[in-house]
C-alpha cells in the first residue's frame, strides 16, 4: 500500500483538522429529508444508498435460492407445483431471477456502487465524484431496473437462465412480454453501470490528490479503474445483444432466428463477450478490498504492489478475450477451442500472482485476526478452490464432460458467492464504523463469519461431487442417485441464510443504538490509506482542501 505522508508533522491530525475547518456538519441536510436521498449528489450518501439497495436485493436473491434449495433438498417436486404437476417454468424463473439479481443488483451495486462510491474519492483525496448528478442517476436507474425485473414475474416470468439464450428467450420460448421486461431491466441496469463507469474513470484519472501518482494509487482504486474500463468496453455489447433480441421478439427481425437466416450462437458470443468480463467486474474490486485488509491486519504494506496492479490489468485484458470457454459444447472448431483453452489457462498466472502476493504480504507480518481479516482469509482460501476448478474447466475436453453440470455451479459460486460476497462482507466490516460511526461487536462478526463459512462450504463443495457424477444444473428434479449431496447442500444453505439474517438484524440493531466515539483510524497502525485520516464518519464534504501526498 502507498504510505501517505501528508504535508506537516502529524498527517492524521492535520487532515482531520483541515476537513473539520471546512465545515464538519456545515450544510449537511437532515438525515430525514427526502431531498437528501432522492436528489443526492454526495458520493457518501449515494454509496450508502447503493449498499442498502444491494443488501435488500441480496436478501431477495438469497430467498429465491432458499426456495431452490428447499425444492432440491429431496428428489421429486414438493413445492414448485402447478395444479399438482411440476412447474418447470416457475423453476426456471427462479433460477433466472436469482442469477440476474445477484449479479446486477447485489454484487455489482455493493462493490462498485457502494464501496466504490464511498471510498474511491476518499482514497484519492477527492472531494466527491467527478459528475455528482450523473452519480445520482446511476443509482436511481437501478431501482426501476429492479422493479422491471420483478414486474416481469407478473407476466409469467422470464425462465431463460441469466444468460437469456434465444430461441428460448425468443418468441418461441416466451411469447408473453416477460422477457421484454427483463431486457428493459437489463437496459436500465446497463446504462446505470456505464454512467457509473464513466464517472469512476474520470474521477480517478483527474481528481487524485496532488502527489498521488497512478503507481502510488491504493489497490482498491486501481481495481475500480480497471473494472470501470471493463464495464465501458463490454456493457454496450451486452446492450446491443439484448436490443437485437428485443427486435427479434417484437419487430420481426431475425438476428438470432435460424428460420430467418440468423444464428442463435451469435447471441451467445455477444452475451459472453460481456458475460465473461462481467465475472472479472465482480471479482476485481473484491481483489482490491482484500489487498487493503490483508495489508492492514498484517501491519505490512502490500507485497509486490506493481505486480499486483499489473496482475489485475492483465486479468482484465485476458478476461476480455476468453469468452467462448462458456461455449465449448456448442460445436466450435478445434482451432477456436484450442485458442479459448490456452487463453483461459493463462489467466491462472496473474491470479496465482495475486494469491501468492497476499500470502507474502502476511509473511513476516504481525497478523491480528479481526473480523475483516477472517473474511479475507476465507476469501483467499475459497477463491483458491474456485480458481483451480476454473483451471479444470478451462480445458475444452474436460469441459465437454462438466459443462452445464453442478461442477460449474460449484465453481462459480466458489469464486463469486464465496469470493466476491466474502470480500463484500470483509469490506463491510472493515469500513462499517468509518461509514456509520457505529460499531459492530466483534463476537457478532465472528458468529456471522463462521456460520456463513460453514454454511456456504456445505452448500457448494458437494456440488463438485454432483457435477462429476453428471447431475445437470437448472434441473427442478433429479434421480435418487444424487439425493445425498443435494440434502447436504440444502442444509448448508439454510445455515448460511440464517447467518445472513443474523447479520442484517445485527446491523439494524447496531445502527439503531446509534453512534459511539470511533477514532479516525480505528484499526491502528496498519491502516495507512487516506480514508483513515478523516473522522469516522467522515464529514459530509471531505477534502475541501486536497491532502498532499509525498
Amino acid at each position: 500500500m502507498v504510505s501517505v505522508a501528508v504535508k506537516g508533522k502529524d498527517n492524521k491530525g492535520v487532515v482531520a483538522k483541515d476537513t473539520s475547518r471546512s465545515g464538519d456538519d456545515h450544510g449537511t441536510p437532515s438525515r430525514y429529508s427526502i431531498k437528501r436521498w432522492l436528489f443526492s449528489t454526495n458520493h457518501k450518501d449515494i454509496g450508502t444508498m447503493y449498499l442498502v439497495f444491494a443488501i435488500f436485493a441480496g436478501l431477495v436473491g438469497g430467498s429465491l435460492s432458499f426456495f431452490m434449495r428447499l425444492e432440491l433438498q429431496q428428489p421429486e417436486v414438493q413445492y414448485f407445483l402447478n395444479a399438482g404437476e411440476p412447474d418447470g417454468h416457475m423453476w426456471a424463473v427462479f433460477i433466472t431471477a436469482h442469477g440476474l439479481i445477484m449479479v446486477f443488483f447485489t454484487v455489482m451495486p455493493a462493490l462498485i456502487g457502494g464501496f466504490g462510491n464511498w471510498f474511491v474519492p476518499l482514497l484519492i483525496g477527492a472531494p466527491d465524484m467527478a459528475f455528482p448528478r450523473m452519480n445520482n442517476i446511476s443509482f436511481w436507474l437501478l431501482v426501476p431496473a429492479f422493479g422491471l425485473l420483478v414486474s416481469s414475474m407478473l407476466f409469467g416470468g422470464a425462465g431463460t437462465g441469466w444468460t437469456l439464450y434465444p430461441p428460448l428467450s425468443g418468441l418461441l420460448g416466451h411469447s408473453d412480454p416477460s422477457v421484454d421486461l427483463a431486457i428493459f431491466a437489463m437496459h436500465l441496469a446497463g446504462v446505470s453501470s456505464i454512467l457509473g463507469a464513466i464517472n469512476f474513470i474520470v474521477t480517478i484519472l483527474n481528481m487524485r490528490a496532488p502527489g498521488l501518482a497512478l503507481h502510488k494509487m491504493p489497490l482498491f482504486v486501481w481495481a475500480t479503474l480497471i473494472t470501470a474500463f471493463l464495464l465501458l468496453l463490454t456493457m454496450p455489447v451486452f446492450g446491443g445483444a439484448i436490443t437485437m433480441l428485443l427486435a427479434d421478439r417484437n419487430f420481426a427481425t431475425s438476428f438470432f432466428v435460424a428460420e430467418g437466416g440468423g444464428d442463435p450462437l451469435l447471441f451467445q458470443h455477444l452475451f459472453w463477450f460481456f458475460g465473461h468480463p462481467e465475472v472479472y467486474i465482480m471479482i476485481l474490486p473484491a481483489f482490491g478490498i482484500i489487498s487493503h485488509i490483508v495489508s492492514t491486519f498484517s501491519r505490512k504494506p502490500v507485497f509486490g504492489y506493481l505486480a499486483m496492479v499489473y496482475a489485475m490489468v492483465s486479468i482484465g485484458f485476458f478476461g476480455s478475450i476468453v469468452w467462448a470457454h462458456h461455449m465449448f459444447t456448442v460445436g466450435m472448431s478445434l482451432a477456436a477451442q484450442s485458442y479459448f483453452t490456452i487463453a483461459t489457462l493463462i489467466i491462472a498466472v496473474p491470479t496465482g500472482i495475486k494469491i501468492f502476493s497476499w500470502l507474502a504480504t502476511m509473511w513476516g507480518g504481525s497478523i491480528s485476526f479481526r473480523v475483516p481479516m477472517l473474511w479475507s482469509l476465507g476469501f483467499i482460501g475459497l477463491f483458491t478452490i474456485g480458481g483451480v476448478t476454473g483451471v479444470v474447466l478451462a480445458n475444452g475436453g474436460v469441459d465437454t464432460q462438466l459443462h452445464d453440470t453442478y461442477y460449474v455451479v460449484g465453481h462459480f459460486h466458489y469464486v463469486l458467492s464465496l469470493g466476491s460476497v466474502f470480500a463484500i462482507f470483509a469490506g463491510f466490516y472493515y469500513w462499517f464504523s468509518k461509514m456509520s460511526g457505529c460499531v459492530i461487536p466483534e463476537w457478532a462478526g465472528k458468529v456471522h463469519f463462521w456460520t456463513t463459512f460453514i454454511g456456504v462450504n456445505l452448500t457448494f463443495f458437494p456440488m463438485h461431487f454432483l457435477g462429476l457424477a453428471g447431475m445437470p444444473r437448472r434441473y427442478i428434479d433429479y434421480n435418487e442417485a444424487f439425493a445425498g449431496w443435494n440434502a447436504v447442500a440444502s442444509y448448508g444453505s439454510y445455515l448460511s441464510l440464517s447467518s445472513t439474517l443474523f447479520f442484517v438484524v445485527t446491523v439494524v440493531c447496531v445502527l439503531l443504538r446509534g453512534r459511539s466515539a470511533v477514532a479516525a483510524n480505528y484499526w491502528g497502525k496498519g491502516a495507512d490509506t487516506l480514508e483513515w485520516t478523516v473522522s469516522s464518519p467522515p464529514p459530509y464534504h471531505s477534502f475541501s482542501n486536497p491532502p498532499r501526498i509525498t
Binding site: V302, G304, A348, L359, S366, L468, R474, A481
Partner: protein
C-alpha cells in the same frame, strides 16, 4: 482401480521421506517431497471416489467410463488435473495456516518491512506458466481426439424437441422414432426415475458411430456422462460427434441446456448391444416404427423439394 495400493504406498513413502528429510537432513528438499506425496494422494483420490454403474448416492467422482473417449476425459481429469489442483490447494492452505500461526500478533510483535523479492516473484510467475504449459499438451490432444470424426461406420441423428429426443437412422432406411420419458406407474425400475425412456437409442458395441445433433425448437444438449459425450442441439445448425461404447449395457444421460418447462424431463437412454442383437433390434424396430419413419421420410422429402 487396482493401482490403489501402489499409489497409497508411494504417497506415504514420499510423505515419510519428507518427514525424514525435515528431521535429519535439514535440507529444503522436504517441501518438494511433501508436495510429491500430496500429488500422489491426489492421484489416489479419484480412484477411491469413482463409482461403478450409473451415479450412486454419495458418489465423489466420475462414474465408471464405458467408452474410449470417456476413459480419456476421465483419465485426464483424474490423473493430471485433479492431482495438480489438489496439490496447489494443499500448498496454499498449508502455507496459509503456517503463516497465520507463525506470524500472528502474539508470535511476531514487530512486522517486517519487506515488500519486494524479485526472485520469488519471478519464480511464482514462471512455475504456474510451466504447469499450465504441461496441462495444455494433453488438453490439446484430448480436444483433438474428441474432434476426430474419421472412420465412423454409420450415422445416427438426434433431434431435440420440447421435451423429448427423436432419433433417426438415415443409413438404415430412415428408421425414426421418438424417445419419451417414462413416468410414474409405467416405470419398470423405480431407481431409474427421470432416466428411463420408452424407446432407448440402441447402438452396437465397439463400433464408432457418427452422431448428428440438432434441434427442432429451442436449444438442447445431448449428453451421456459415461460415454463421455455432450453436444448442444442448436436450432438451424447440425453438430456432429462420434460415439463408441466399449461395454454393453444401458447408459443414461440428460438434456444439459436449459430448454424450458420440461428441461429435467427429457433424458437420454442409450442401450449398447452386441452386433447380432443390434441387427435383430433393427429388423424389429423397422416394423415397430414403420409409421413414424415413413412420416419422417415423407416430410424430409417434402422439405427437400
Amino acid at each position: 482401480m487396482d493401482d490403489r495400493g501402489f499409489l497409497l504406498k508411494i504417497s506415504l513413502l514420499y510423505l515419510y521421506y519428507a518427514w525424514m528429510n525435515y528431521l535429519f537432513e535439514r535440507q529444503k528438499l522436504y517441501v518438494m517431497r511433501f508436495l510429491q506425496g500430496i500429488f500422489f494422494i491426489g492421484v489416489l483420490l479419484p480412484r477411491v471416489a469413482s463409482a461403478e454403474g450409473f451415479a450412486k448416492n454419495w458418489q465423489l467422482g466420475f462414474s465408471e467410463p464405458a467408452s474410449p473417449l470417456a476413459r480419456r476425459i476421465f483419465g485426464f481429469h483424474d490423473d493430471i488435473l485433479l492431482p495438480l489442483t489438489f496439490t496447489i490447494c494443499v500448498l496454499v492452505f498449508a502455507l496459509g495456516f503456517f503463516i497465520c500461526w507463525r506470524f500472528s500478533e502474539k508470535r511476531n510483535k514487530v512486522p517486517s518491512k519487506r515488500t519486494h523479492n524479485s526472485k520469488l516473484e519471478i519464480v511464482w510467475t514462471l512455475i504456474p506458466v510451466v504447469i499450465l504449459a504441461l496441462i495444455s499438451v494433453p488438453s490439446f490432444k484430448l480436444m483433438h481426439a474428441i474432434d476426430d470424426l474419421s472412420d465412423t461406420s454409420f450415422t445416427i441423428k438426434a433431434t431435440g424437441h420440447q421435451w423429448y429426443w427423436s432419433y433417426e437412422y438415415p443409413d438404415h432406411e430412415g428408421l425414426t422414432f421418438d424417445s419419451n420419458l417414462v413416468r410414474g406407474d409405467d416405470l419398470r425400475d423405480k431407481s431409474k426415475r427421470l432416466l428411463q425412456t420408452d424407446n432407448a437409442l440402441v447402438i452396437p458395441v465397439d463400433q464408432k458411430l457418427r452422431l448428428l445433433i440438432t434441434s427442432a425448437d429451442v436449444l438442447h444438449s445431448w449428453s451421456v456422462p459415461r460415454l463421455g459425450v455432450k453436444m448442444d442441439a442448436v436450432t438451424g445448425k447440425v453438430n456432429e460427434i462420434w460415439l463408441q461404447a466399449d461395454k454393453m449395457g444401458t447408459y443414461y444421460g440428460f438434456c444439459t441446456e436449459l430448454c424450458g418447462d420440461g428441461h429435467a424431463y427429457m433424458p437420454v437412454e442409450v442401450r449398447v448391444v452386441s452386433r447380432g442383437e443390434f441387427a435383430l433390434w433393427l429388423r424389429d424396430a423397422k416394423k415397430r416404427f414403420a409409421f413414424s419413419s415413413e412420416r419422417r421420410n415423407d416430410l424430409s422429402f417434402a422439405l427437400r423439394l
